[in-house]
Amino acid sequence: MRLRIFISLFLLLFTTTASARLQILITQGVNSARPIAIVPFEWLGKGPKPVNISNIVVADLRSSGLFSPMPFDKIPSTTSTIKDIDFKKWHKLGIEEILMGEIKPTKDAGQYIITYELIDVVRGNMAQEMYDPLLLKRRGTASTEQIRRFSHRISNVVYQQLTGDRGAFLTHLAYIMDIDNDPFPYQLRISDYDGFDEKLILRSIAPIMSPAWSPDGKYLAYVSFENHKSEIYIQNVYTQKRELVSSYPRINGAPAWSPDGKKLAIVLSKDGQPEIYILNIATKALTRITRNLVIDTEPSWAPDGKSLIFTSTRGGKPQIYQVDLTTHITKRLTWEGDSNLSGSISADGKNLVMVTANKNKYMIAVQDLISGEMRTLTKSKLDKSPSISPNGSMIIYSTNYKKHQVLALVSTDGRFKAKLPTQEGEVKAVAWSPFLKI
């Protein structure tokens, strides 16, 4: 009985505290970012705007590091159709594209029709019929609850139109929070990529580690010590149903989903040393991949699912290796720095992202897998858990900032940097979701 009271109390608390905790704070911008103007969307209804779409799109495009949206107070006149645009004026201001739109209420309360246009200033300024300045025009409907998501979708459309790459603004982050004075100090949470709409997935009195997204973005695999040992669980983030999938003696760790979502690469030390295994999720059958007397850990799948990369101390210090799952031929990938750990390959197969250690400084680095060239992207001391955005343009990781563990972003080219500070606790073990199909 007492238990029940406890639980309902916590549930209540949870519903009231789920709000944006992480906030993107840009610490290093890019000079050459593309100038774009997002004109505040015109609200055609009565009363206050349902959600400020333009603010969300501005924040999205800015945090990609590729765009430099014009501050709202510098935007000359608020026009909402292409006909009223003074292209000469915009061109003089150095703006290359303009996004404008309107939000119209429908007969149903809380339902809106959103129309937007992306306009090419350079073409418009030429004022020739063969160059249509209208790059795209879209219309969609969204409810009050969907409108933030709809705004991220607009950002995706603009990003793709102007860069040729898919935008990653409709994605989630999963991360672990440690909150000292909470009765459940270890918490697995997810939020939108920008820290908004934070949800609690699991809280525990014992450590939780290594969250990993399934390729469809519906499940998280993670390690929990709730039974006084490490065990691997899979949890559906929409239904909260969870399944214990690995509870062998000693280490059960570092789960990584295969690209087809049917297998997990995991680390088990049941046979003595930490070794890489592949676990078939449906049958629970195990295939052992590594076999030696050193540490093998941190498996991660190549995008084609045909090989695994992992960290091994077989050469002395930890370095990153790649094993072909058919031939079992293993090759070493990293040669620079004292050691390299926690590797993963970008979806296009071009970049190996990792933690590189030099004189006890742990920093995020990226290695071009074709040329072999390696670049260190960060300058801090305790960077870890790098996770690549599904479009490969950004890396999120955890770092120490003002004596706390916080999340941070760096673009894969190293030019753009941001931190995501929080109001309480330590944030770590971050994992960027795949593209969401919602």
Binding site: T15, I201, P207, Q240, S342
Partner: protein
């Protein structure tokens, strides 16, 4: 005491979409856990009655020396070698475990925050194993020892200084009831 047991075993998953629908699941999970805890604590009382291994702290010190009071071994960075100064304590624990074959322990391994969480789990296991290996070479049965590797989780000192790091690189012997 009871409340702390309840707290310690309480672990609930929270719904992402339907709070109401899921609270029942969380309820039932937690009560199941509470039941099993109660059964366990009844067992604890019974084993207590046998009393074979229940020496007071003073009696223990008399039998195994002061060294038995230390149950933690500290390590150098990225290393799992037991320094000679811990041998006396480990020998005392080994003797107690040999004297009480029913006594069971967990050796918990830990690292500092340097490195990556998953690599640190592996490193902390090497530390726990080093302690376990030493105890077994002194006659302790392998069935008496369990290993748990926490890596950089649960630091003794949450600071980020070199001193804090040194404090956190450890393996600890914990009695299992």
């Amino acid at each position: 005491m009871k409340a702390s047991i309840v707290l310690k075993t309480l672990l609930i998953t929270l719904p992402i979409l339907f709070l109401g629908a899921c609270s029942t699941t969380a309820d039932s999970d937690a009560s199941k856990k509470a039941e099993s805890t109660q059964k366990k604590s009844e067992n604890n009382v019974e084993t207590g009655k046998l009393g074979s291994s229940k020496l007071s702290k003073e009696e223990k010190v008399k039998k195994y020396g002061d060294a038995i009071l230390n149950s933690t071994v500290w390590f150098n960075f990225d290393d799992a070698t037991i320094a000679p100064k811990y041998i006396k304590s480990l020998k005392a624990h080994a003797k107690e475990l040999v004297d009480n074959p029913k006594m069971k322990i967990t050796v918990q391994g830990y690292t500092d925050e340097q490195g990556t969480p998953e690599y640190n789990v592996a490193l902390s296991e090497r530390r726990a194993k080093a302690v376990s290996k030493y105890l077994r070479s002194n006659g302790v049965g392998s069935n008496q020892i369990k290993l748990v590797s926490y890596g950089e989780e649960k630091p003794l000192n949450k600071g980020h200084t070199k001193a804090a790091h040194a404090q956190n690189r450890r393996a600890k012997i914990v009695k299992r009831i």
